[in-house]
């Protein structure tokens, strides 16, 4: 799959891919790159503009903005990775099980998934945090609850179509145990599309993390996070607009890069077929309340046209 990605991307998508890689690496080593301790308060230096000491200036408490932005990228990326990881594991497991077992279990799971999918992820996350209180772990769990349903539906449809394949029949005839078929054949088949979908989700999850922090329900001070820096900075909009512009621009750049990259990945994914849920999400559409997700084929030439920018 990596080979497909690398060879298929040219031009803008490849640049975006490299940008994503750079962002991830930078955020992982952020503590090493930050010139100052992002939490070091220096009131004498508050609202300082860009200068020799502080490349991007300081915030209302004198903390170095560059360091805070770097740490914020680390906070965001870890949160996004955690949420998507959990969503894939939880949603994927449920979906594969539902597809593999079938019958009444499948129906029940589909109904529950439908309900979760018909409520926006942000609202679910807000509701869970509202009921269970704020905190980093609660935020991760809340966001996972908001995002798992799409992965459940996705992996279920993959399993449903894989189940019919001849090699599964052959394995059953040869006496392979259901667990073996499940673990070594069904689950790996679902991982690929899940990752492709996750690339597109990452941007939205990042925005949600920032939104929750903005509303005071996500990452709390003194931890740095873009949304939280924005809510602090808005208070000082008149005096120092940089406190708002810098984190906002950083977040936007982050999300734009992820989105551009993921669009090209999704449309050029090796299978060439997108489950309807993915296509609908790509096009910004909600899957209807019908229980079964059909497969929609995107013809290669159309995909190329949609992507060529």
């Amino acid at each position: 799959m990596i080979r497909t990605v690398v060879t298929a991307l040219r031009g803008l998508p490849r640049a975006a891919g490299i940008a994503v890689l750079v962002m991830v690496v930078v955020s992982l080593v952020a503590p090493l790159l930050a010139p100052y301790d992002p939490n070091a308060i220096d009131l004498g230096n508050a609202f300082g503009g860009p200068g020799a000491h502080h490349l991007l200036g300081t915030d209302q408490l004198g903390r170095d903005l560059l360091s805070r932005l770097l740490l914020a990228s680390q906070t965001t990326i870890t949160a996004v990775a955690a949420v998507i990881g959990c969503a894939i594991v939880v949603g994927g497991t449920i979906g594969v099980l539902a597809g593999a077992i079938g019958g009444i279990v499948d129906e029940i799971v589909m109904r529950v998934t439908d309900v979760f999918m018909s409520i926006p992820s942000m609202v679910i996350a807000l509701a869970v945090i509202g009921a269970f209180g704020t905190g980093y772990l609660t935020m991760i769990i809340a966001l996972t609850l908001g995002w798992w349903s799409a992965y459940a539906r996705l992996s279920r449809s993959v399993v449903l179509s894989t189940k019919e394949q001849p090699h599964i029949e052959a394995l059953k005839v040869l006496g392979a145990s259901p667990v073996r078929i499940f673990g070594r054949h069904l689950v790996p088949a679902a991982i690929g599309p899940a990752l492709v979908y996750a690339a597109g989700d990452a941007g939205l999850v990042a925005l949600s993390v920032a939104s929750l922090s903005f509303l005071g329900m996500g990452v709390k001070p003194p931890q740095s996070e873009w949304g939280q820096m924005l809510v602090d900075g808005t208070r000082y909009l008149e005096s120092d607009a940089m406190l708002v512009i810098l984190p906002g621009a950083a977040l936007t750049l982050f999300v734009v890069t992820l989105n551009v990259f993921s669009r090209s990945i999704a449309l050029r994914s090796s299978q060439g077929a997108l489950p309807r849920a993915t296509l609908a999400r790509r096009l910004g559409r909600l899957p209807s309340l019908a229980p079964r997700a059909a497969r929609v084929r995107v013809a290669p030439d159309r995909a190329k046209r949609m992507v060529s920018q």
Binding site: S118, I119, L126, G130, A131, T234, G248
Partner: protein, 317 residues
Amino acid sequence: MLRMIVRRVGVAVITFVLASVLIFLLVDLAPGDPAKLLAERRFGATSTMENVAQVRAELGLDRSAPERYLSWIGHAFRGDFGSSFQNGRSVAHDLADKVGVSLILVLCAALVALVLGVLLAGLGAWRPGGWIDRATRGVAMTGVSVPTFFLGPLLLLAFTLKAPVFPAIGESGPPSWVLPALTLGCGSAAIFAIVVRVLVEEAMTQQYVITGRSVGALPGAVLVRDVLPNIAPQAVTVFLTQIGFTVLPGLTIVETIFAWPGIGDYFLRGLLFRDFPVIQAVLLLFVVVLIVLNLVADLIQGILDPRVRRSLREGTR
């Protein structure tokens, strides 16, 4: 036709019931004992076990879960959502007060989304593959990625602080509607633009359009007569679901930024205070609106699409 409507409504009802159960469970499973909280508030720090038990009986919290659920949903249908933990006021009353403000915001944002989205899509579809097309696609991509809580302060900065064009805070008549509506509507506008652009492109590659143009039909006529009716069902569906999925959740953030006393703001206060009646009521209201929007979108698609109408008439479904 009737069968389709009945079936859709049936699914909607089931979804509503399931969602209401989830909402109820959410609050039920939440940590913290409302009886204890209220007893402490009423009797001070010296509240005793009897006080707590009394409050519990008052609130009906000593009944079984299904009983409490039925009681809650029964009251909700009659318009009684309980009293807020924060100030004891009737939640239904507060909601009724605030709905108007939020409605203004949602309608204006929807208008913005519609106009901007169609504009962007139209610009792009004018010369597919041209630089305008790529530029609008870039703008749309950015529009999707810009967070509302960044766009809001940016607009405030540009149009209120640097140059006093629009009022900044609070709801005070049409001039104050512009900035919040723009903030809320841009995200949906971008998504709508992308979708409409794809739909128009698909429609323009259809045989009948190519034939029409090649025999000399004017671009305008082709657009209105051939492209528009074909993209209408899907476009309407996307638009309505966008309102549900992007505009409504964004209400909370935009009302916070511009200090509008609407339902989003009310919801946020309820969340921060863990005011369960408020949280439950707003969630329920939200779910109802979402389901209705979805239903209307499904039905419109069924009605506007002659193929669906014909297949229904012929009995195939």
